[in-house]
Symmetry: C2
């Protein structure tokens, strides 16, 4: 008996217009579980090395896990994965909301999509059946219009829709996938992959809740968990101000990314911080399926230029910093408007902000001029320019045609040394963190299989600020120094990454997960046991997590990525020019040594490739039989 | 608050006649926990490479753990460790009984003994105090006499005594340590180390039971555990016939060691099997502290020559095979008598039987003759000769002077090609298993840090015969083939060893442990959590286990042991000459490849040395600062 799952994977061939159902069995589910690991399995099986990510050869996976849709705070996330058109690495990005649980209730644990439809279509999944439907009417429409029209067409207000806007249709390389207008699989350009397949949306509706092994135990832990969330300081803070509190925290520490990652403090920080946010544009709290944290923000603002739509969600920390401090913009309604435009058209706000800041710094240095922009100046601090550039990128217009390719490709097209200001890792723009103040996070950025990404490992401060007894379950007895890059940091990261990647494999929200937030490792094990009925353990769970990381690494290795790509941006090796951490930088040699030690700690060879022994250890021996190993 | 422990380590300097108490703190306890890991810590700290194990430079450790003395079946074992005079590797050997818990209640978690007393002494440990007392009166006495005289001298019938007999005093290299005349730290010659220090006994008595974090939870799991023991087939079998059932089982399979490990079936097996045993010499069941398995046998037999003493315990499987099938002796009372003489004088029965079989095969091949033996023929099957040789070895007399050095040294002394018949690994004689029928067990023998030893990993059949869902907690989803030596077997062993070594670190009896017997991994974690109050996990527990293995490996590496020593005996590479598995052997090349893969799986280099990364991973970075790494 397979608890927690439907036991069914939907495979859709858009070229042929057909679908079929696979029933992989418990052994397979225990091995790959869900999310990033499950998705990596199909990508390794079906994506040939070297393919164009925007060609029909790419494969797109929507992946849930055993726990998706369990009635527990934070157990609602899902992964969307494919080869990334932004990076050429594995692309993968998680979102919360209600779509993941609904897809589970609609009868499937994952959807694997192959080929390309001749004409725009959407996928309608309901009660164990699938239908490939014509999307001509919604093609070219934004995400709000798409949602409304599909609700009307299907005659059901309770459908859940994962869709792309015009940016995805136009193949902007950092186009995202949205659900319910508030939740985003933001990163690595999965929206462009949908666009390239002429797939406008995946729509789910269903009533089949897979049975859990021990529903009473789940309820019992859920209660303990929710009670903790009410009092555990990080969860309380998330409930009160969402993630916006980080603006002040990071600025005070001196590591709020500012001026395209040059500076660590922003003089306009007060104007975009949590206090300002909640006293001006804040409308109400939003949530995800069955979650009591309620970290989401809804916003409203009456203004001709920067008017906000409560349906489209409010900017979170990453966006506040990307469209704000990074571009030195302190106009909060404008930032919130930029966020909503990204949401409407389906652009990743992190990459969008980074691209705008890149363009501004190019302009500042005469690399881009008014000749390139149709006469418009692109200066740091100019909110209107930021909004205009978002419109141009989504529409694939003017300078937007170049910038929508991401900073790496844009710099190549622009030339003239623009790459000096194109800050990315493996081709992906950076989330809004400054590694100079937290070297474990820097390692996470360098080693994320998807390129510059912040969900690879909890950052040093969060870990050290926590109760040591909680971390002892994974052998972390010593606090680490955020500013140090040494062997202890490599060890910390190696373990921390295994811990954090549990979330991406199991589809658990970081904010409800161990170690930063309310849950303990023991509770997590108990919950997964109660949901699945498996005699699992933290050892087993961490091995699944490591399996996911290793599979993604193998994917990237066969695409040609290696040690040279496991790096951070040059600016983090340069001293912070101002603020409390003035002068702080990451030593290049120490960082390289830490990365090399991480390889060793991971059972990877000097070329950053998982060894034969590591693949055997993780039951991935099948990867040895093909050209990968 | 440190639960489960006294928080005190007793350090005794026999040269100076002084003792002091160390209080290492929780961080240290969480890192080294107990048993083999805790002992290895002190040996790495205090035993200089290259020392003579029988010199005052050796250090002897009695080590308990957090769970020793918890009122749970099987939680009563302790380790005795030092550099082994038999092997030159780390020496270490576990025993059950009542001594471990009593030492805990006497106020200490471990005793570390340095130097050498000028004259015979014993150590009297009671209620948090220690006393080094004169042992002149008991020196030269056997284990029964010693126990009785110490009880009288201390005026307490409830003392618990770990003592050596004449064999230890005489420095027989496989002399053992006994407690309560029924329980033996049998292997690696720890009795000789005690003898070399003029230490006759360690005596414990105390009433201080360390507090457990959640006594009610312990009671609850204890009940579940004990209820399972009553019905779980392996435990039921152990209760009914002890380990003696293995004689028939292994003989039927064709891997009962016979004729000095040449054959796999013994024609006299029926005469020494469980049925015969229980219908002739069996008197009653014996037990260890708080254990409901009761696998111990007490025996009695009225006979002038082979009369048995109920106080001295009955032979278990290993002894039945060592003194029986291995020597082709089918006289059960004689075997039981040989066992009791070993117990009385303090000789390890496994090594004793192997040495006798070695001598017999040397005699069979004209390498030993009546000239060497004072006129006596040493033929396979001769029970009187077996008993005579035990007497000679314990007394260090005649041919016994040579044989008491173990087969490796004896063969060197005898010369004439005697080493062809000296079956040992790293100098230690083999427990009674034939690797040709279970290659995972063969890997365990090859890789045990103490040399030929069977408590390194549960053997293949036991693992495969078990419920897969139980093993899935450690990622073992696939059954393994007992006869195959391949990558899957190396993986199985690598994980299985980590699992099994939990027992030696935590002092848990194999018969009450995961995976063979009643307990599940989940219960084990729950129990350790309830006893210690630590937020531990199976990941953490397995890391402690691996830490123990790695520390022992480092100890051996610095003594010069390496890949050449990680091998099995030549006979296992030769076809079994008879029985159901006739023709079966272990392929040399496949075995070497499996060992090499195991190194890789373990994070050891090609020289079988734990890498710098592995030491850092396990928080053993301090080993990098000295000459070891």
């Amino acid at each position: 008996m397979l608890y927690g799952y439907n036991g069914k994977i939907l495979h859709v061939d858009l070229t042929k217009g057909t679908w079929e159902i696979e029933e992989p069995g418990e052994y397979w589910y225990r091995t790959y579980v869900g999310g990033s690991a499950l998705a990596a399995y199909y990508l390794l099986k079906h994506v040939k090395p070297g393919i164009d990510p925007l060609s029909p050869d790419n494969v797109l996976v929507f992946a849930l896990s055993a726990v998706t849709g369990a009635p527990v705070s934070g157990f609602n996330r899902y992964s969307v994965a494919a080869k990334s058109p932004l990076t050429g690495t594995i692309g993968r990005t998680e979102a919360g909301g209600y779509f993941g649980p609904e897809l589970k209730f609609a009868g499937f644990d994952a959807v694997v999509i192959y080929g390309k439809s001749e004409k725009p279509v959407y996928l309608w999944i309901h009660n164990g059946e699938a239908e490939i439907r014509d999307a001509a009417s919604v093609w070219g429409k934004d995400n709000i219009q798409t949602l409304k029209m599909l609700e009307e067409e299907l005659g059901d207000k309770r459908i859940r829709v994962a869709s792309i806007g015009q940016a995805g249709e136009n193949l902007a390389r950092f186009a995202c996938v949205q659900n319910d207008l508030e939740h985003y699989n933001g990163r690595t350009g999965m929206g462009a992959v949908m666009g390239s397949k002429n797939l406008k949306a995946v729509v789910a509706r269903g009533k089949n809740r897979p049975q859990m092994a021990d529903p009473d135990k789940v309820k019992e832990i859920r209660k303990v968990h929710n009670d903790k969330i009410k009092v555990h300081p990080p969860n309380v803070a998330l409930n009160t101000v969402g993630t916006t509190g980080l603006i002040k925290g990071l600025n005070d520490t001196g590591i709020l990314p500012t001026h395209n990652f040059r500076d660590g403090t922003f003089k306009g920080a007060d104007k975009i911080n949590a206090d300002t946010y909640h006293s001006t544009i804040f409308e109400s709290k939003g949530s995800c399926y069955s979650c009591s944290v309620k970290c989401k923000r809804r916003v409203s603002y009456q203004d001709e230029k920067y008017g906000l739509d409560v349906e489209l969600g409010g900017a979170e920390f990453e966006t506040l910093s990307a469209l704000g401090s990074l571009c030195e913009i302190d106009n909060l309604p404008a930032i919130a408007k930029g966020n909503q435009l990204c949401n409407l058209y389906g652009l990743d706000t992190i990459s969008a902000g980074c691209v705008v800041a890149f363009a501004m710094e190019c302009f500042e240095n005469g690399i881009l001029t008014t000749e390139d922009t149709g006469g418009r100046e692109i200066n740091f601090g100019d909110a209107d320019v930021m909004i205009w550039l978002i419109e141009e990128m989504a529409a694939n217009r003017g300078i937007g045609k170049i910038l929508s390719q991401g900073v790496k490709r844009a710099a190549e097209i622009i030339g003239k040394g623009a790459d000096e200001y194109a800050f990315h890792i493996k081709g992906q723009e950076l989330p809004l963190h400054d590694g100079r103040g937290k070297s474990g996070m820097a390692m996470g950025f360098a080693l994320a299989p998807t390129g510059g990404e912040h969900v690879e490992c909890p950052h040093d401060v969060a870990f050290t600020g926590n109760d040591v007894s909680k971390l002892s379950a994974v052998g972390l007895l010593d606090p680490v120094e955020p500013l140090k890059t040494d062997a202890a940091k490599a060890r910390f990261f190696s373990i921390g990454q295994k811990v954090w990647q549990i979330n991406n494999c199991y589809g658990i929200c970081n904010f409800c997960s161990v170690p930063i937030h309310a849950m303990t490792f023991h509770q997590l094990v108990e919950l997964i046991r109660a949901i699945t009925g498996w005699d699992t353990s933290l050892f087993d769970i961490l091995q699944v997590s490591e399996r996911g990381t290793v599979m993604q690494r193998v994917f990237n290795n066969r695409e040609g990525f290696g040690p040279k790509d496991d790096r951070v941006i040059r600016r983090w090796h340069e001293p912070l020019p101002d603020g409390p951490l003035k002068g702080q930088s990451i030593d290049r040699r120490a960082f390289r040594e830490a990365i090399d030690l991480y390889y060793e700690l991971s059972g990877w060879d000097k070329d950053g490739k998982p060894t034969r022994a590591k693949l055997i250890e993780l039951n991935l021996g099948w990867l040895l039989d093909d050209e990968v190993a």
